[in-house]
């Protein structure tokens, strides 16, 4: 065997490159819980991506068929654990639609107020976790600092910090609390006395006053950051047609330029909650977008979330002004043993991550014959493969993160 190479093509055929199968998840740090992505890569370029789900399946829907509807409420906030309030609301509304229950005005005001606070908390996590996906830690901790106060406020409201079960059939479990000790985080941030007492609504007002100027800072840190724009703008472009055909909803759909929000365009039983409120539906394209941004890219989806926080703040403020004038009670009684009519009802509500639907079939029993949840994240996740293929490995967290999926909701 000689060491000289007679024909340079020999070595060319000798060194064969192969595709590599990489298993990303379910314990990968950036797959938002337990998503498993099977990648077929050529170096760092993704040729094929297959999402595998089901690692967080907890039989929530089957359990719902063995429980009275108010008993199923605690299972719903464990689906999308970052927006428990909104999930409770969607489920309660579906049952109310089935039995034809009208809630009083006061309960409606409370529901809007608290659900929009929940939306702020959820989008803050979405923002922070997206920063984490792109490799910056600090926005995540800032987001959690703000969210912590919302959780403190919710704790005063219903005793729970994550799984609230606050909205139930017929209204909410409690009225808004009156005098509360100031949440420690809020006292530290606004430099108030730690032993201060104030009403719950005052605390919310104080928090919103703190949060509003911070949003500009997040824009400086992330949205307008040149590296952030380089990593997000023009990447993961989800066209309007693709978004609609995959059934995407929420900020993902609006980021693709579809002006659709169930709070405005949904069923009357849900939209009447928001009549009389002044808010905008945020959808791409944006006039102040950076030059590199394309309709339906990561940047647009992220920006929709950020702008929705502003709108949610606006809604909370209006609900706070409306609350003292609201008539009626916070809840109409609903008996646990009340029988559901032999009928079916399906209702979608606008959760932070998209249109979350609940389907309840009654069978003249307290327990529903069928209880099903239609996940928004499931549809949003289904666009992963068309979006990621052909991009680099580093773009997967950027694209999947911009879809902002919660696996608990997908697997239920």
């Amino acid at each position: 065997m000689s060491l000289t190479l007679e024909d340079p093509r020999v070595i060319e055929f000798d060194v064969r490159t192969d595709e590599m199968l990489v298993n990303m998840g379910p314990q990968h740090p950036s797959t938002h819980g337990v998503l498993r992505l099977l990648l077929r890569t050529d170096g760092e370029i993704i040729h094929e991506i297959t999402p595998h789900i089901g690692y967080l399946h907890r039989c929530a829907e089957k359990i719902g068929e063995n429980l009275a509807t108010p008993q199923w409420v605690p299972y719903t906030d464990r689906m999308d654990y970052l927006a428990g309030m909104n999930m409770n609301l969607g489920m309660a509304l579906a049952v109310e639609k089935l039995i034809g229950l009208e809630v009083p005005e006061k309960a409606m005001t409370i529901r809007v107020l608290v659900a929009e606070l929940g939306r702020i908390a959820s989008h803050l996590v979405g923002m922070g976790a997206y920063g984490l996906d792109l490799g910056t830690f600090s926005p995540f901790l800032y987001a959690f600092r703000e969210r912590e106060i919302i959780l403190d406020l919710f704790e005063e409201l219903c005793g729970a910090r994550l799984t609230y079960s606050y909205f139930t059939i017929g209204g909410a479990t409690h009225d808004l609390p009156d005098i509360i000790p100031i949440p420690p985080g809020l006292a530290a941030l606004t430099k108030r006395n730690k032993n201060m007492k104030l009403t719950w609504l005052e605390a919310v007002e104080m928090f919103l006053n703190w949060l509003e100027p911070r949003i500009q800072e997040y824009h400086t840190l992330l949205t307008r950051n040149q590296i952030f724009i380089k990593r997000t703008a023009g990447l993961g472009i989800l066209t309007k047609e693709l978004a609609i055909s995959h059934g995407c909803t929420g900020p993902v759909l609006r980021g693709s330029g579809v002006d659709f929000d169930l709070r405005r365009d949904g069923e009357p039983i849900y939209t009447r909650y928001y009549t009389g409120y002044d808010f905008d539906v945020i959808s791409a394209p944006f006039e102040d977008a950076p030059r590199e941004a394309v309709l339906g890219d990561n940047w647009c989806r992220f920006f929709v979330r950020m702008m929705e926080v502003v709108q949610a703040i606006k809604l909370v403020r209006q609900a706070m002004a409306k609350y003292p004038k609201s008539q009626g009670t916070y809840r109409v009684p609903y008996k646990m043993s009340a029988k559901l009519p032999v009928d079916e009802a399906y209702l979608e509500t606008e959760c932070p991550r998209g249109a979350m639907g609940f389907y309840i079939v009654g069978n003249d029993k307290a327990e529903p014959y069928r209880a099903r949840a239609k996940s928004s994240c499931f549809c949003n996740l289904s666009v992963t493969a068309p979006l990621c293929e052909g991009f680099l490995l580093a773009d997967i967290p950027a694209i999947v993160g911009s879809l902002d999926v919660v696996m608990g909701e997908i697997d239920r």
């Binding site: 990968h28 740090p29 830690f137």
Partner: protein, 422 residues
Amino acid sequence: MDTLLAANSLAEYLQTNGVPFFGPLDESTAMIFAAVVHVALVGAWFGLPAGLFIWAERKISGRIQDRLGPTRCGGKFGWLQSLADGIKLIQKEDLVPKDADGLMFRLAPYIVVVASFVGYIALPFSDGWAAMTLDVGLFLTLAVLSLEVLGVILAGYSSGSKWALFGAMREGAQMVSYEIPMAICALCPIVTAGTLNLNEVALLQSGGAWNWNILHPFNFFAFFVYFTCATASCKRAPFDLAEAESELVAGFLTEYSGFRWSLFFLAEYASMFLVSGLAVVLFLGGWDDGFGIITAIKTAFPDGLGNFIANVIGLKVFLVKSSILVCVQIWVRWTLPRLRIDQVMTTCLKYLIPISCFLFAGTVAYPLVLAKMFGQTSIIGAPAGERLVQPREVPGSTSLESNGINPAGVQVSTASAERSQP
């Protein structure tokens, strides 16, 4: 005391004065003894900044993120946290994955540590206070620093994990590319100074802030390019692609745990301090305080205790300057998102290399153009390129000048005047 200070090295001191109860030592014993002491000292300088900056990173990142950082361990500010973590890491199970190539897997952390450890050899902490004052100081430092990438590639390749392999591939591409503009930018002050000896480069900038290389118009930009490249070659954010936790789990560190993992960590912080120290020596005047105080003390007391005190002050100035640069690296890390690998490579190959080449050419041409047009080679401070110290004797001889302490050398006007006379 005076003899110890005047001696060229510890070995020489041991040969002439000896140790208590043993008397003067013969040459080989003295050399071995001196080597042990030197290694211990450099080792301390290696471990100390690493431990200190790990603590500082936690504390600073805590403050940046509106947290407290460590508060309990060691009393007030959690200053013993790094030590406590080190002890914890040493106790951990010695894990080698089944698929790993055992020998290379075990070898990799030592290569990385030794590479950044040896880089400290030529770094002068104060006038003549280097483990070895080498005439090829910068060359050695850069060469040894680029050895670090070998350990990283070895770690990634031998781990038997695809994430580690990805990390190693990225790291290999990134570090090798960034070495080029980094070295070219480090050469700019070398051209200005006319020597590769780091001690002399720093000495030429002493006497006041107006003598620092950073005020040279081309070196000014070279400093920022150098610092960017140095950040990248230390694998620090926003260039921390090799261990990008959101993409590659932990990159080449994925399979490492316990003591080996902590060695990688120590090496990272040590090389952070090393490249910052190099930046201080090359661009920011080394141990010079900027007001000429140290130079004044040195001129007043050319040898003995006064000189020693001046060196101690210089050491502190050097440490403060380097620490500020390290803190800038920490600050950047906790602020910016991570770049993507193609963007990192584009930044290097399309922007930094041409810029650094231009700066290098500019540094070479600048004194010539000035001399042609104005008849002088510098605008600010003493003339660049002519601020040469007196020629020195070869290190190793017993004369005082070869100790790296040369008070005459800092008197720039004398030196240049002597040179200008044919």
